[in-house]
Symmetry: C2
Subunit: 268 residues, 2 copies
Amino acid sequence: MRGGLGADETGQPVRALRNIRLTVAFDGTAYSGWQIQKGQPTVQGELAAAVRRITGENVVPAASGRTDAGAHARAIGVGLQVRSGIAPASLLRALNSVLPRDIRVTGAWEAAPDFHPRRSAHSKTYRYNIYRGPVLPPHLVREYFHYPYQLDLSRVDAAVGRFVGEHDFGSFAARSGADKQDGPRGTVRRIFRADVQRSGHRLWFTFTGDGFLHHMVRNMVGTALEVGRGAMSADEFEALFSHRDRTKAGFTAPAHGLVLLRVHYRRR
Amino acid sequence: MRGGLGADETGQPVRALRNIRLTVAFDGTAYSGWQIQKGQPTVQGELAAAVRRITGENVVPAASGRTDAGAHARAIGVGLQVRSGIAPASLLRALNSVLPRDIRVTGAWEAAPDFHPRRSAHSKTYRYNIYRGPVLPPHLVREYFHYPYQLDLSRVDAAVGRFVGEHDFGSFAARSGADKQDGPRGTVRRIFRADVQRSGHRLWFTFTGDGFLHHMVRNMVGTALEVGRGAMSADEFEALFSHRDRTKAGFTAPAHGLVLLRVHYRRR
């Protein structure tokens, strides 16, 4: 009865819940991440407030995953359940007219009843941006980690390539989040793509995988940088894949260099 | 006696004035342009305050030219006259340690006594950024003009190519600034390069010329867009080069899409 009309106890017509899928882009600089937290500006909070203004409904938008405070997204996957009959394209325009300009709805579709932005995703792609020149240019301040140190880029390449495949990434998971991540797969994840591209002083790390543990991309990047500057040997790096010990991996690269590029769905 | 020591009336040693050349990059979003204005945040004002903090001297930094409120620069040319003996590389680091992070000194050199950041420049390169997709992504908000309208790009190309060469650009000059621009050359300028590149929804206009009148780049872009969307005919466009009449040209594209990429000097 999706989209159909019933009636409540007072005889008023009641619409059934519709499942709407959105893609949302945001500059995370001003936000404490995706997830609603009391007294903090969050992307989920801004989006819930925008939906309330447009349809009058109190919804808790679901996302493909949480994002760290200060990290960015080009296209996070979002699911909304609303009773309003508004067309997806009209909802997109209406939400963008009330959202702050550092959050934009870039796509909206009617979704299947069983669509869920996290469970229906089969993979995600992240990019991590680094600037190696002596002075970080102002137009890169929000999305680039400034790392003006000597690096052996062939060692960085080799380390990043080692992440491809199915591995236990326990050494690269934030300790604080470990309890939430021990589902049936524990800390095992599959990485389909991991590479580094460069242009001038810029380095772009790209990772596509079927799932990422809390802080995993930032820890992989920090560890690859330590290998690249010679602070971690190839043997020490290799041992991270057999021993789950977060204390042995490299530093956690800062959140502002991290961009969720895309969430890949089997279908809309 | 550049860099040498003299003595003032009280016998204190007095250094001769040194001429320092800087290149400065800034995100202009928060500034009322380059030039100091009472009660407004300006790039020149921030730089003067930073020099005062570092060397104790009251200087008025000179630039290769003024920039519009909200426009950006990757490398504006700046000249400083200081008595301090600080080495250019140390001055660069010291200024960056006190400047806001949306203004960065990216280069510093000892300059010849006759170097002047405007008079010594032989040309400048500007870029103007446009985004044509339906929703402007948050990471482009500061530097891209959102123009989601139908355009015949071959007409835009042809119009932009017409700017190359020596022409009277009076039709493309801001009327308010005309009195200041009528030097020996009047409103004649030479454009060495003018083209449009595209990638996906983005358009980048690039202009290199020996000088630009007030608002000239923004007026050239606005006019090319009007030609591209069919609001101005090829004949009307052509007439702008023979009649100096600002009221006949297209709209002034907004400042935030404009980036001064580089100022070209004959020598350092």
